[in-house]
C-alpha cells in the first residue's frame, strides 16, 4: 500500500503523528436481515485469534428484516471491552442511516462506505474510504441471488487490508462460521479476498488505526452470557427447564436444550435425564417449574421483564409454600414491551420482592460470562437450601453479546439438595415431623418429596395460611410465626450468595458501587478518572442480594459512593438504601437508561461533574 496522503477529492488530510494500535471501536451499520451477522462474527473471531482483547455487541432493532442495525466491535490492548461511546472506524453499509452515522463521528475518524452513497461530501475532517461493493461482489459471485448474502463479507476484506487484520484468521473465521457449508465458506472467502485485494490496489491508508497480533487471549474463550448461563445450569444439575420465548432470554433456553441433548442423554438407553418444555406462556412456564421443584426436580425457567410480571403470583406462592425454583431474568428495557432488544437493569426492584404481601427473593447478579456459568450452577443449590425462588439477574448486553472470558472451571462443589427427609428419616423420627417446623433454628424446615413411600411422608403444599405441620390455618399466631420464620430463613440467605468484589485504596475518598454489566464500564471509567484527572476511586461490585456486610462497611467508609444503575430510578441504590438505611446519605446515583450497553465515558463524565474535577 502506498503511503500517500490524499483524500479522494485530492485535498491533503493530516495524518496523526502516532499510530493507534490495538485500541479502537469498529461500528458496522447495516440493514437487519442482510446477513451481516456472519461477517461481524468472522471479524470478531479474527481479532480474538490475533490475541487482541475484544467484544462484539449487536445493537439491533425489534425486527426480522429491513430496519437499521449496528454491530460494534471493541478491541483494546488494555482489556477494556465495554462499549466505547466514540466510534473510530465506521462501516456505512446502510443508506437509511449513513448520513446520521457520519455526522456523529469525532474528527479524524475513518469511514468505509458503499461508494454510491457519496458520503465524502458530508465532512472534510474524516478519512473516507469509498468501496464499490456491488462490482466487487459481482465479480466473485456469479449468481445474483447470492450476492446479497456475501456482499457484507467484502467489508471484512476491506477492513483487513486497512487495519492489518491477518487474512489467515479471516479465512479460519469463515471456515468456522460456515463449518457445515463448504460451498458457502468458499464463496464468502472469495468475497473477503476480493475486498482485501481491491483495497490494497485502490485505497491509500490515511487513518491512524492498526491492529497487530498480541498475546491477550491466552486460555480465553469467546462466548455469549446466555450460553454461559445455560452451561452453568447444565453443569449445576438442572433437570427441568420450562420457558416461553421472549427476547433476550430465548437463546438461553435454546442453548441449554442444545447442551442437554449433547451431554445428558444416557448413551446406553438413549433416554433423557432432563425435560425442556416450551410452555404456552410465562404463567405456565413458572407453574411447571414450581410443580417440578415441589416434586424434587432441579427446576428453572428463564425469561425477561414482561415474563417476570406474569410470573408474579406464582412466585409469591413458591415463596410462601417454600418451593425451590431458579428464575433467570435476562433484563431488557421496559416498562411494557419497552425496548425489547435493548439492555437495562430495570428488574432489580421487581424481582427482589416479586408478588404481593411480604415477599423476598435472593438474587445472584453475574457481571461476566464466568459468573453467568458459576452463578447459574450455584443458584440451584441456593434455591434448594432455602426452599425458595432464587433469581439470577443477567441483562441483554451480557446475555446476547459476545464476551471474552476465561475458560470455565469445572464445579469443585457437590450438588446440594438441601433439607430433604427420606423414607428412612421419617421412620427414624417415627413420623414425628412437620413440614414447616424450625427444627434447626435457622428458619429452614425439612421437606419431603412426593413419591416418598413412607406412609407419614405426605404434606399439603398450599398458598393459604398454614401451621407448622402444613395444616390449613387462619390463626394469627400461626400466620405470624410462619412469616417470622421465613424472614429468619432469608436473613441467613446471605452466606450462600456470592460476596462482593472490593477494590479499595488509601487514596480513594470517592467510591463506586455497581452490579452486572456495569462492571466493564466502571473498570474503564476508573482508569479514565485516574489517567485523565489523577482521581483515585474505590470500587465495590455487588454480586448478590441481600447484600453482604462487607458492602455496608465499604459504603460507610466512603463519603461519596456513586451507585451505577442501568435504569432511570436507581434501583440498585434503592435496594442499598432499604438494607442500609443508616448510611443511605453516602449514596449518589449515576443512572443510564438509554438502552445501549453502558459505556465508561457516561460514568466518568457524571463523576467529573459531581465531584467538580
Amino acid at each position: 500500500m502506498q503511503a500517500v496522503n490524499a483524500s479522494p477529492s485530492g485535498e491533503p488530510v493530516a495524518i496523526p503523528e502516532l499510530e493507534v494500535v490495538n485500541d479502537l471501536s469498529i461500528h458496522v451499520a447495516t440493514v437487519n436481515g442482510s446477513g451481516s451477522q456472519s461477517s461481524n462474527l468472522v471479524l470478531l473471531r479474527a481479532l480474538f485469534e490475533m490475541g487482541v482483547p475484544v467484544s462484539g455487541k449487536n445493537l439491533f432493532p425489534s425486527n426480522i428484516a429491513g430496519l437499521p442495525t449496528w454491530y460494534t466491535i471493541r478491541a483494546s490492548k488494555y482489556g477494556f471491552t465495554g462499549r466505547k461511546k466514540e466510534v473510530d472506524f465506521l462501516v456505512a453499509m446502510n443508506p437509511q442511516t449513513a448520513h446520521e452515522d457520519v455526522q456523529s463521528l469525532d474528527p479524524g475518524r475513518a469511514v468505509v462506505y458503499d461508494e454510491p452513497l457519496g458520503l465524502d461530501a458530508l465532512r472534510d475532517d474524516l478519512c473516507f474510504y469509498p468501496v464499490p461493493f456491488d462490482p466487487i461482489t459481482a465479480a466473485v459471485c456469479p449468481q445474483p441471488k447470492l450476492r446479497k448474502l456475501v456482499r457484507n463479507m467484502v467489508y471484512d476484506g476491506v477492513l483487513a487490508a486497512l487495519l492489518d487484520i491477518e487474512m489467515e484468521e479471516i479465512r479460519k473465521g469463515i471456515n468456522k462460521q460456515f463449518s457445515t457449508k463448504p460451498k458457502a465458506a468458499e464463496l464468502n472467502w472469495n468475497a473477503a479476498k476480493a475486498g482485501f485485494d481491491w483495497t490494497n490496489q485502490n485505497l491509500v491508508k490515511r487513518d491512524p488505526y492498526r491492529l497487530t497480533r498480541m498475546d491477550g487471549n491466552k486460555g480465553k474463550i469467546i462466548v455469549e452470557g446466555n450460553a454461559a448461563a445455560a452451561l452453568g445450569a447444565v453443569f449445576g444439575g438442572v433437570s427441568v427447564i420450562t420457558w416461553y420465548p421472549i427476547t433476550p432470554s430465548s437463546s438461553l433456553a435454546e442453548s441449554a436444550q442444545g447442551y442437554l441433548n449433547r451431554f445428558r442423554i444416557d448413551e446406553s438407553t438413549g433416554k433423557a435425564t432432563f425435560a425442556v418444555v416450551q410452555a404456552e406462556d410465562e404463567l405456565a412456564s413458572i407453574g411447571m417449574a414450581i410443580g417440578a421443584g415441589w416434586a424434587g426436580a432441579r427446576a428453572m425457567t428463564t425469561t425477561a421483564g414482561p415474563g417476570i410480571s406474569l410470573m408474579s403470583e406464582f412466585v409469591g406462592l413458591a415463596h410462601f409454600a417454600e418451593i425451590p425454583v431458579v428464575l433467570i431474568d435476562v433484563q431488557r428495557m421496559g416498562p411494557s414491551t419497552g425496548l425489547p432488544t435493548r439492555t437495562s437493569q430495570g428488574d432489580f426492584l421487581s424481582a427482589a420482592t416479586l408478588s404481593h404481601g411480604d415477599t423476598f427473593h435472593p438474587m445472584l447478579i453475574p457481571g461476566t460470562p464466568e459468573e453467568c456459568f458459576e452463578f447459574s450452577a450455584k443458584a440451584f443449590d441456593v434455591a434448594e437450601r432455602l426452599q425458595s425462588p432464587v433469581f439470577v439477574m443477567l441483562d441483554l448486553d451480557l446475555g446476547m453479546n459476545y464476551w471474552t472470558a476465561d475458560k470455565f472451571d469445572y464445579p469443585d462443589w457437590d450438588i446440594d439438595r438441601g433439607k430433604v427427609l427420606s423414607e428412612e428419616d421419617i421412620e427414624r423420627l417415627q413420623g414425628d415431623w412437620g413440614r414447616y417446623r424450625d427444627v434447626d433454628d435457622d428458619g429452614i424446615a425439612y421437606r419431603t418429596i412426593p413419591g416418598n413411600r413412607h406412609p407419614q411422608a405426605a404434606y399439603f403444599a398450599r398458598g393459604t395460611g398454614h401451621d407448622e405441620d402444613a395444616n390449613y390455618s387462619e390463626r394469627e399466631e400461626d400466620w405470624i410465626r410462619n412469616m417470622d420464620r421465613i424472614q429468619k430463613k432469608m436473613a441467613g440467605a446471605r452466606k450462600w450468595l456470592p460476596e462482593p468484589v472490593i477494590e479499595d485504596g488509601p487514596k480513594a475518598r470517592v467510591a463506586l458501587v455497581a452490579a452486572g454489566t456495569s462492571h466493564e464500564a466502571v473498570r474503564e471509567a476508573r482508569s479514565q478518572l485516574r489517567q485523565e484527572y489523577g482521581f483515585e476511586t474505590a470500587y465495590c461490585r455487588v454480586r448478590g442480594w441481600p447484600f453482604s456486610h462487607a458492602t455496608e462497611e465499604f459504603i460507610a467508609k466512603h463519603d461519596h459512593v456513586y451507585v451505577v444503575d442501568q435504569n432511570r430510578d436507581g434501583q440498585l441504590r434503592m435496594l442499598l438504601r432499604r438494607q442500609f438505611p443508616a448510611i443511605h446519605d453516602h449514596l449518589r446515583s449515576v443512572c443510564y437508561y438509554g438502552g445501549m450497553p453502558l459505556d465508561a465515558r457516561t460514568i466518568t463524565d457524571a463523576i467529573v461533574e459531581r465531584e467538580g474535577l
Partner: protein, 351 residues
Amino acid sequence: MSTATATRAKAPVSNRIGLGLEPYRGLKTTLCAGCGHNSISERIVECFFEMGIDPTQVIKLSGIGCSSKSPAYFLSMSHGFNSVHGRMPAVATGAMLANKQLLALGVSGDGDTASIGLGQFVHMMRRNVPIVYVIEDNGCYGLTKGQFSATANLGSTAKSGIANELPPIDTCGLAVQLGATFVARSFSGDKKHLQSILKAALAHRGTAVLDVVSPCVTFNDHVGSTKSYKYVRENKVPLQSIGFVPHFEEIHLQEDFAPGTVYEVEMHDGSMLRLEKLEEDYDPTSRLKALDRIELATEEGQILTGVLYVSTDQPSFTEMLNLDDVPLAQLGQDRLRPPKSALDTVMEELA
C-alpha cells in the same frame, strides 16, 4: 358387571395392597352439606381404595375455589398441592416431569378450568399430560357467592333470577377437540356411574378429563338453574351403560351381547372398560362423532353422560419426552452433572 358393587358388598377391611380405607380418607369436609363435591370426594376415596392404588405414589392437586379445597378431604397419605387459580395444570405438568411414576389427580372447578384456567387446561390436554383431571362443575362461583361461570348454560338463572346471557363452554367438547385421550361426563348424584368412570380414568395413561356435574346446593340448585340436582336428573342422557373390570380381577369375555352393541376398551394397566351402547350410532373412538353429538346435546338442553371419547394408543407427554427410567427427581449427581471432559470439549469449541 361393575366390580365396585361386588367388592363393596364384601366390605373388605383391606384392599389388594393391604391398606384399609382410612389412608384414602382425608379431613372432614368444610363444604356445604349436600354439596355435589362431597359426593365426588367419597367416590375418589372408594375408587382409589378399591383399585388398590398406593396413596404415597399419588399427587393430588388443585387450583382455587370450592372444588379446589376438596383434595384436603381425601387421600391423606398423598402429597397435595393447592396452587393458584386456574393454573394447577402447569403445576401438575411440572410435577409429572419430575417424577413420571406418580399418579396425578387434579381437582378443579368450572371457574378454575373454563374461565381463568382455560389456557392451561387446553395446553395440558394438547400435551396429553398423564393426569386424571376432574372438573367439579356447578356452573357458578360458590366461594365468591354464586356468580355465573363459563359453563353456565344460556338462559340458566342465578339465585337472584338473572338469566345467563352467554353461551356455555363445553369442557368435554374442548377436551375431545384438543387432544385429551379420555373424556367423560358424569353426575355427582350418580354413584355407580361416577365410580366406573373414575376407575377407568385411573387405569388410563394420558389426560383423562372428567366433567362431573356437581350441583351447588347454596347458589345453584333452584328452579331455573340447569345445574340443579332436579334438572340434571331429568335431562341427563346416558350414552352407555358402563362396566369396568380392573386388571387384577378375572376378565370374563361377555358373549351374551348382540354384535356391535358393546365397545370393549383395554386400558393401559390391563383393565377392561366395557361400554354397552345405549345410542346405537355413538362411537367413543371417533372425535368427529363425539363433537357432533356434544353439539346436538347443547342445542337440545341435554346433559350427555358417559365416555365421550377414549383413545389408548397415543403417547402421554412424559413418554413423548423420552425421559430416563429413573424419575428425574431421583437422579444423583453422577447422572445430573456431565463429566469434566464434556466441559473441556465445549471450552475447546469456544476458544
